[in-house]
Structure formats: structure tokens, C-alpha cells
Amino acid sequence: MEILNTALVDWSRAQFALTALYHWLFVPLTLGTSFIIAIMETIYVKTGKDIWKRITKFWMTLFAINFAIGVATGIILEFEFGTNWSNYSWFVGDIFGAPLAIEGIMAFFLESTFFAVMFFGWNKVSKGFHLTSTWLVAIGSNLSALWILVANAWMQNPVGMHFNPVTARNEMLDFWNILLSPTAINKFLHTISSSYVLSAIFVMGVSAWFLLKKRNLAFAKRSVIVAATFGLIMSVFTVITGDESAREVHRVQPMKFASLEGLYYGENNAPLAVFGIFDRTPSPYNPKAKEFAVKIEIPNLLSYLATFNPHAYIPGIHDLVHGNDAHGIISYYDRIKMGKIAIDALKEFQLARKAANDSVANASLKTFEENYKYFGYGYYNDPHKLIPDVPLVFYSFHTMVGLGFYFILLFIFGIIYAIKDKLTKHRWFLYFALWTIPFAWIASEAGWMVNEFGRQPWVVQDYMPTLSAVSNINQSSVIITFFLFLVTFTALLIAEIRIMLKQINGHKDGGTK
């Protein structure tokens, strides 16, 4: 099972990261603007005021430009599991494939069918049918997010399955357990609510630009009201779901949790690192090194947030690698031993089964099952290779959280100024709103970096390391496709941004009714 060509693994990872990060530039905007448009069109249908129709149509045009490139970058992700991660596809395809298929049947058709009605149907179908189509596009895109996030959550917290030694793969035991696992629920809610925040910042920022240019004033003010209100509600929701997600990470991925807080040594009354700069790249080989040059902490808060007990013990990276008897933590050294026992037992089982030697087969199966919990660890010899890139995870996490709280502040000002009709008088706010747009994407991508780099080296937590998941293909093929994707997606991104800017710049709506 083990792939020794680490360059192939790295290029495959790089390609997946590249395609996923590019895809994610467009998805959150689709997820959020679809609802914002649906809300705007609902106001139009309810009030009958033409300005709301024009507002809806303008944001719909931007939505469509973004939607197209989201689709373009999305198709590859669906097939990349097969092309570049074929061993993964067999090892867990019995579980992982289902959400992808459901995503297609339940969500993609809904999205694609009603997108055409929403975009081209203004003069072809009734008002009610058009509004329904707009809502169905919003529901469809968010449903697609549900299923792919369920799939991702399962990789982080593999529940509802068992290993079938005959077929040498994991098989589904409980569909509902997979769908409703706390990791899946939190991941879905946190991701979509943060995407709504991003969309709200986009709508608010573009509207702020109109206000700065003293153009489309009535249009822009109304857009700010909808976006800031939607954004604030969703920001609060993002904080709540993020908090819950972190507790789940603490429970099922303690190494990731320690990494995102840069916690090397476990402690009771663990403080929360609000801010920190690493002194040097912390090395587990140099445990006495000073990890942070600067660090601002809030005492006890990490223990409290993770467990609701301010005095609780939170394990650090060192404890996980070397074990901690006092707190019942099995060391990575021991897990590696048990993983190797499981791997050998599986081989023995298969040989014995082939030779029809039932007694040996049964004995090895028993050994395998006793140690399967740490199966994936058996592919490693050095436990330090089981530690993710701590500074990268730490910085990504703190960037995401810091920006999230800044967005809340921005939305509050937006609502206050919009209600008092003083938006144009506070130009500083308008500049902030405008220049916050790229930071919404930085926060969103940082979130995915926390999620994906933080769980390394696992593709399926504890069971399958990334190095054994790749396809057995030619490394040069992957290098070529990596650069092809880089060039293609970059060209399409440039096209998208230029078209959007032109659309925004050329938009004229002087009306107030």
C-alpha cells in the first residue's frame, strides 16, 4: 500500500491544493450571493418596486460570472479523487463516493436546471416561478456544499464504517451516523455561514465603492442594508459554529488542535493564544527551543473553550508524540507499533485465506481488529512525521479568527450608518468596506488551510496517510497537469476579475424607485 515516491505525493497534493484553493475563490461567493439575490428578489416581488428588480438583476449578473468559473474549477475536484487519489478511492470509496453521488443527484441538477430559468426566464416564466427558481438555485448550491462537506468531515472524523479485510477497504455501516456526525454538522454550518459573510462583504464593499463615487446611491444604500444585516447575523452564527467546531477538533483531532494553538506542552488552565509570532520554526527535535518571540495570551481560556472547564488539561504536541500516562495519552511511538501489527496481521490474514487456513486466518483477523484503530500509523517509523506544519496552521487559524471578529465590527457600523442614512458622510467606513473585500477571501482560504494542513499527514484521520492514497501514476504527468491547471485557472481568474470590474464600473442606476 505504501507509496515511496514522495515527490509524486507532493505533486499530487500540490495539484489538489491548487485546484481546491482556486475553486474556493468562487464557491463562497456563489453560496452567499445566491441567498442575497433571493432575498432581494423576494423584496421585489413583495413590494413591486422596480428598483429591487434592478438591484436583483445587477447582483445576478455578477453571480452568473462567478458561478461559471466555479463550475469550471469544480468539475476537476470531483474526478481528481479518481485520477490522482485512486488508492484512496478504493480504500474508502464505499463511504466517500455516496455523498458525491447524492450531491450530483440532489443538488447539481437543481442548481443547473433553475439557473437557466433564473437567468433567462425573466420574460419567459411567471414572477412566482422565477422567484421560486432563484430560491431553488440558492438551496441547490447550498445543498451541494452540504454533501461535499459531509464527505470532507468524514475524512476528519471517520465514523459509521468498518474495515472489511476481505475486500481490503472500509465499508459503510451507518449512513445517518456519517451524515449527522457532529463534525459534519459543524463543518457544514461553519463553512456556509462564513461563505455568507464573505458574500455580504463583497456586496457591501462594491456598494461602498458606488457610494464613494457618488453613483447609484439609492441602489447602493439598499444593497448595504441587506448585506450588512445578513452579514452580521451570519457572522454571529459563524462564531458559534466555529467555537463548536474547535471543540470537535479537540475531541477527534488533538494534534490539529494543539497545532492551531501552537501548544507544544500540554497543561492545565491552558491559555488561549490571541496573537503570536514564532521565534523559529519549532522543531520537535529541539523541544527546548523557545517557540514564540511574541505571544499574547488569555489565561485559562483555551481549557474553557475546549471543555467548558477552565482548569482542564489540554495535551500539547509533545504529549501526543511521547505519550502522557497521567492523562491516558498513548504515544505515537506505541501507535506506530500497533499500526505495524495491524498491517502485518492483514497480510497474514489474506495469505491464510488464500491457503484456506482458517485457524491462522481467524487468529490474524483477531490481531488485526485489536490494532486497526491505529492502522495508518503503521506506515511510519518516525512519529515526528505525524506532526503537521505548526506555524502554517497557527498563522492560518489566527488570521481567520482575527478577520472574522473584524468583519463583525464592520457590519455593525454598516447597519448603524445605513439605518441613520449616514453612509456617505463616513467615507472612512466606505473605504474600509471596499478594502475589506480581499480580506474576506483571505479569511475563507485560511479556514481551509487550517482544515487541510492541520490534519496532515492524514487523508483519513488515523487510518490512511496521504502518502498511501495517491494513484500509481507517472510523476511527470502530474507535474504537467499541475502547471496546466495553474495556467488555465489563472487565465480564467484574470478574465473573471476583469469582467466583474467592468460590469461594476459600467453599472448605472440613478433611479430611486
Binding site: G82, I105, A495
Partner: protein, 385 residues
């Protein structure tokens, strides 16, 4: 409900769903076929715009059908998914790139400041139409002629030739390559035939309709030549049979013909599909004034049924649907490549949504196509591609 089905019954049920998706996908490839006809049927900007907008309201459905085909294969037959996609790397990458460049082209082609220029996006549409149809058809033909891979005891697949599967379409020293390409080209010309019919159905314009009318026959003839060549070979070729008890794979002469004889319903479906395709072409061309607009439905339905029955021919009756010519015993069947029984049952409940999905697609399609595309609409409506 599905719990009562046997494991094999569930595998057959899911293969039928894959077959249905395959049939719908080939029908929906009329979008791709139409993309290769844009500047043949449209001689000025308004005419091209009508054609682009006609297809532009449907391209996403074709795209989605391909994605669902992939997703359903992954969920129901993961060993096929991992073997084919991971092995024939370049075949699938070329297909995927062809779809990536398509997805933005409709939306961006006529937008100001679009960076690459309208001609580039139209070229993307042409490339997508050409490459996607030929490569998808060629890839499906390998279900009959076989590929080069082996699978080890841990079910990891290894491709046995270099160039990531491109040999299946480019190794002209093999006779099978010609059979593979014949289906690819048949799909290409069929998609153009269907597109011509769709334009007649959806665009209210005499000039475009007359050019499309002529395009029906120009594409139907090469389609028939390539398709009959493929069908002739399939009927007479050795096929990949396996013993349902021992699962040992062997080559059997006239296997696919035997399958059609063993499964008369499938044989009747195949004949019905072919007759409907031909009927649509015949009526659409020779009775253009009276039946031109309806031809798409006959040929379209015929396409779905023909592809559906061809898929059943290679999936049922203990046949390896994804055979290996380099390692016969590594050949994949619906029995050895499938998901577990539990997963198939769970997915089968999800499949109950499919009729509902088809119903709302039909409803939205009818609502949108009630008013046909006209020159006037293209000139007045700001929401056009």
C-alpha cells in the same frame, strides 16, 4: 424495500442507473455537437448569437450529467472509478480540460473586457465539442474492447502502458483502436445531428432552420457509417465473460451477440433505440416542414435507449464491463467492482429522487422552451451570451 433485493440485484439496479445516465449524457452531448456547428450554421453575429444562446441554456445540464455520471460510478462501482480515472489519466484529463474551458465560455464570450477575446471563447466551445464527444465515445468503446491494467490483492490498480491511456485512441497498430475511435466519431457526428435538430426545435428562424436541415443529413450519414462499423465489430468480437461461481474471466466468441440473445428485452430495446434514431433522422430530413421540430425527440429518445441497452449488454449476463487485455483476471464486473450491499441499498433510496429530478428538468425545460429564440430577442434582451 431495497433490502429485499439480492446483492447482485442491487448491483444490476445500479448498473441500470449508470446506463441511464450514460444514455442521457450522450443525448445531452447535442450541446457539444452544436458548439462545433456555430460558425457553419451561423453566418453573421446575430445568427451565431441565436445558436450560442440556444445551447447556452442547456450546457449546464450536460455538464451536470457528466458530473453525476462520475459521482454515481464512484459511489456504486468504486473499483471502476479508481482504476479507470487513475489509470487512463490523460484520457480523463483531456476530457476534463475540455469541459473546464467550456464552462466559462458561454458566460464570458460576449462580456466586455473578457481578457481572452470572443474568438478564443468560441474556439474553447469548438474544442469542447470536438474533444469531449470523441474522447467520451472512445472511452466508452473500451468497455467492449478492453484496457491495459492490472489490479493487485489490495485492489490497487496499475496501468500497464505509458501515456496514461492515450494508446486506447492513438495506438494504430491495434485493431481495437479503430473500433474505439469509430464509437468516438459516431458520438461526435450523432451529437451534431442532434444539435441540428435541436436548433430547428428551439430557434424560430428560417435561415438557421434551413441550414440545420441540411446539417442533419450531412452528419447523420457519417454517424451511421461509424456506428454500424462499431456495432458490427461488437457483435462479431470476442467478449469478456466470467464464471459467476468462480469469477474466472475468459474470452468468449460472439459474447455480446450472445448477451443480446440471452437478454431479449435488451435486444428489443437496442433495436427500438436504433429505429427511433433513424426515424427521427428520416422524418426530420425528408418531412422537414411537417416533422422537423419533433425530430429531436425521436432521435433523442432513441439515443438514450440505444446507449442504455448497450451499457446493459456489457454490464449484465456475467460480462466484465471494464475488461483488461493485459491481465484478464483483473477485469472489472458489476460484481467485483461494486460498493458494499449496505451502500448500494442506501444509495438506492437516494435514487428514488431521480424520477422527481427528471420531472422538474422536464417542467423547467418546457417552460423555458415555450417561447422560441428569435433574432428580435437576441437584439433586445440584455441577458444573452
Amino acid at each position: 424495500m431495497f433490502e429485499k433485493l439480492s446483492y447482485l440485484g442491487l448491483q444490476e439496479y445500479w448498473w441500470a442507473i449508470i446506463a441511464l445516465l450514460g444514455g442521457i449524457l450522450v443525448f445531452m452531448l447535442f450541446v457539444q455537437g452544436g458548439q462545433t456547428l456555430l460558425h457553419r450554421l451561423g453566418k453573421n453575429e446575430t445568427e451565431v448569437k441565436m445558436l450560442v444562446n440556444s445551447l447556452g441554456r442547456k450546457w449546464d445540464l450536460t455538464f451536470t450529467t457528466l458530473v453525476v455520471f462520475g459521482g454515481a460510478s464512484f459511489a456504486s462501482f468504486p473499483l471502476f472509478y479508481s482504476t479507470s480515472f487513475g489509470g487512463a489519466y490523460w484520457v480523463w484529463m483531456i476530457i476534463l480540460f475540455a469541459f473546464i474551458i467550456q464552462a466559462v465560455s458561454y458566460e464570458y464570450r460576449s462580456k466586455l473586457n473578457n481578457f481572452l477575446g470572443k474568438k478564443t471563447y468560441d474556439a474553447f466551445l469548438f474544442i469542447n465539442g470536438l474533444v469531449a464527444t470523441i474522447f467520451l465515445g472512445t472511452a466508452v468503446a473500451t468497455f467492449f474492447t478492453g484496457s491495459f491494467f492490472h489490479i493487485n490483492s489490495m485492489h490497487h490498480s496499475f496501468w500497464d502502458t505509458s501515456w496514461g491511456g492515450l494508446g486506447l485512441a492513438l495506438d494504430f497498430a491495434r485493431y481495437a483502436t479503430y473500433v474505439n475511435l469509430s464509437l468516438g466519431l459516431a458520438v461526435f457526428f450523432l451529437s451534431r445531428t442532434l444539435a441540428s435538430m435541436y436548433f430547428i426545435n428551439n430557434i424560430d428562424d428560417k435561415v438557421v432552420a434551413e441550414r440545420s436541415h441540411q446539417a442533419i443529413i450531412k452528419n447523420a450519414i457519417p454517424f451511421l457509417v461509424f456506428f454500424l462499423f462499431f456495432l458490427f465489430n461488437v457483435i462479431f468480437m470476442k467478449g469478456f465473460n466470467y464464471d459467476p461461481k468462480t469469477m474466472v474471466v475468459n474470452l468468449e466468441s460472439f459474447k455480446y451477440w450472445h448477451n443480446l440473445m440471452d437478454m431479449p428485452v435488451v435486444f428489443i430495446l437496442l433495436l427500438l433505440g436504433i429505429v427511433l434514431v433513424l426515424w427521427g433522422i428520416f422524418r426530420g430530413y425528408f418531412f422537414f416542414e411537417k416533422c422537423g421540430r419533433k425530430a429531436i425527440w425521436f432521435t433523442g429518445l432513441g439515443t438514450v435507449i440505444t446507449v442504455f441497452s448497450l451499457f446493459l449488454t456489457i454490464g449484465y449476463n456475467h460480462t466484465s464491463f471494464y475488461p483488461s487485455v493485459t491481465s484478464l483476471q483483473s477485469s472489472l464486473s458489476i460484481q467485483n467492482a461494486s460498493s458494499s450491499k449496505y451502500t448500494l441499498i442506501a444509495m438506492s433510496y437516494v435514487s428514488l429522487m431521480i424520477p422527481f429530478v427528471l420531472a422538474y428538468i422536464w417542467y423547467a425545460w418546457s417552460a423555458m422552451n415555450k417561447k422560441r429564440i428569435t433574432r428580435k430577442e437576441m437584439e433586445e434582451d440584455p441577458h444573452t451570451y
